[in-house]
């Protein structure tokens, strides 16, 4: 057993876990943050994606101990109170989900994609091909991806506007 200290959604937490505990299990079972899902458990589906120090990673492929000292953001940490994050709002408006199982991971990956392209100076002008390519680590078995891609492109525009307003 080890004590793992990290920041999750802005709050400092300290958790006693077995060394073999994966980050996703610390989040779900110790912190009750069950928005982060376990889909495949073989590092392929992306349902468990969270942000660790600003990078979208698969929390089923990281030991809790590896995240010690890090800043973790989960799907629960995106909205500001009752106000959805632009990516969440875009998924709702574009019907970017059906069963919803993959959605938290999709949204966390998608936010990362948009941030990455904004910071690379492409002005948030993501195209469909790029979004499809960059979502290759997230699997959805319901939607056929079409509305997910639409939602990400919609959100990229909204996030750019929000960024400009700040």
């Amino acid at each position: 057993m080890s004590t793992v200290k990290l920041t999750v959604n802005g709050k400092a937490v300290s958790v006693d876990v077995e060394d073999r505990t994966l980050l996703v299990h610390l989040l779900r079972e110790n912190l009750n943050l069950t928005g982060t899902h376990v889909g495949c458990d073989t590092s392929q589906c992306g349902a468990c994606v969270v942000h660790v120090d600003g990078r979208a990673v698969k929390s089923c492929t990281m030991l809790a101990g590896q995240a010690a000292g890090s800043n973790v953001t989960t799907i629960e940490g995106l909205a500001k109170g009752d106000e959805l994050h632009p990516m969440q709002a875009a998924f709702r408006d574009n019907h970017g989900l059906q069963c919803g199982y993959c959605t938290p991971g999709m949204i966390m990956s998608a936010v990362d994609i948009v941030h990455r392209h904004h910071s690379q100076g492409s002005g948030g002008k993501l195209d469909e091909e790029t979004v499809r390519h960059e979502l290759e680590g997230n699997i959805c078995r319901c939607t056929g991806y079409h509305n997910i891609v639409k939602a990400v492109l919609d959100a990229a525009g909204r996030m750019k506007v929000a960024q400009a307003a700040e």
Binding site: G46, A56, M62, L63, Q66, I113, E136, G137
Partner: protein, 266 residues
């Protein structure tokens, strides 16, 4: 996953000391292979020594004709590095196509090489470019490093600290990714050194891991052009055959990916 003990190393010396204390230790870098294998209970190290946050093992240095990538540098950072893009664009491009974006944030060059998966991307670049693998004990030439499937010249407790690539005159990489895993069904890295030598390495193709491809090297030495490979035949003996592709299919892929790599190199 079976029980294990996690240690975060503060320095290379600390990692080596921690490793020696365990009965069956393994170094853990990005963990994008080791952790899935541990989850499947195919590996059960008594101790995992996390080297990913050792400051001396992260970063990229380009000086003169050498690109040095420290071992715990994630694929994403290599892919994004302006210095690598300028010096060896094929290497940045290779890094940008490993796995998926989440894997590239965590996976590292040292971890990829130490694991030596027969379908991993980096071994092709290391062998074709004639890179040198630096460890805590010595420097190992690419030729002497890869020893077949999942085996390397590394001794128990020896840790890769950096990889140095000589800047080539031209280089290109092309891979046919397995659509599910993104590992190379076959990937070919072609390089023309500044001295005029041609070196070509293929990953994902051979039963004994990454390999040089003599027939393609000879054809490109005579004429650096994709069309120079039209008449080249790659022997299927010794190549991998599985549900994804027969040995004959992979033999043809070596040639086709070789042609695409030459086109990419320009």
């Amino acid at each position: 996953m079976y029980e294990t003990n996690y240690h975060r190393a503060s320095s290379i010396d600390d990692a080596v000391a921690q490793f020696a204390k365990g009965t069956d230790s393994k170094f853990l870098s990005g963990g994008q292979t080791l952790l899935p294998v541990m989850k499947q209970r195919l590996a059960a190290p008594s101790d995992v020594i996390d080297v990913a946050k050792i400051k001396d093992m992260i970063g990229i240095d380009v000086s003169g004709d050498t690109v040095t990538i420290k071992a715990a540098t994630p694929h994403y950072d290599v892919a994004q590095s302006d210095a690598v893009k300028k010096a060896i664009p094929a290497l940045a491009s290779l890094a940008s196509e490993i796995g998926d974006p989440a894997v590239r944030y965590r996976g590292t060059i040292g971890g990829s090489l130490a694991n030596n998966d027969p379908a991993a991307d980096y071994p092709a670049a290391v062998l074709a470019l004639g890179a040198t693998i630096k460890t805590n004990k010595r420097s190992i030439a690419a030729e002497d490093f890869f020893k077949g499937l999942f085996s390397t010249a590394l001794e128990d407790g020896e840790i890769i600290t950096a990889v140095s690539f000589p800047v080539p005159a031209k280089a290109g990489y092309a891979k046919f990714p397995n659509p599910a895993s993104r590992f190379a069904l076959t990937g070919v890295f072609v390089a023309k050194t500044k001295a005029g030598d041609v070196r070509v390495a293929a990953t994902g193709a051979s039963q004994s891991g990454v390999m040089r491809v003599g027939p393609i090297e000879q054809a490109l030495k005579a004429n650096w052009a994709a069309s120079a490979l039209d008449s080249v035949t790659i022997a299927a003996s010794g190549l991998l055959a599985d549900i994804h592709g027969s040995a004959d299919y992979r033999a043809n892929l070596v040639k086709v990916m070789g042609q695409r790599a030459v086109t990419a190199a320009g």
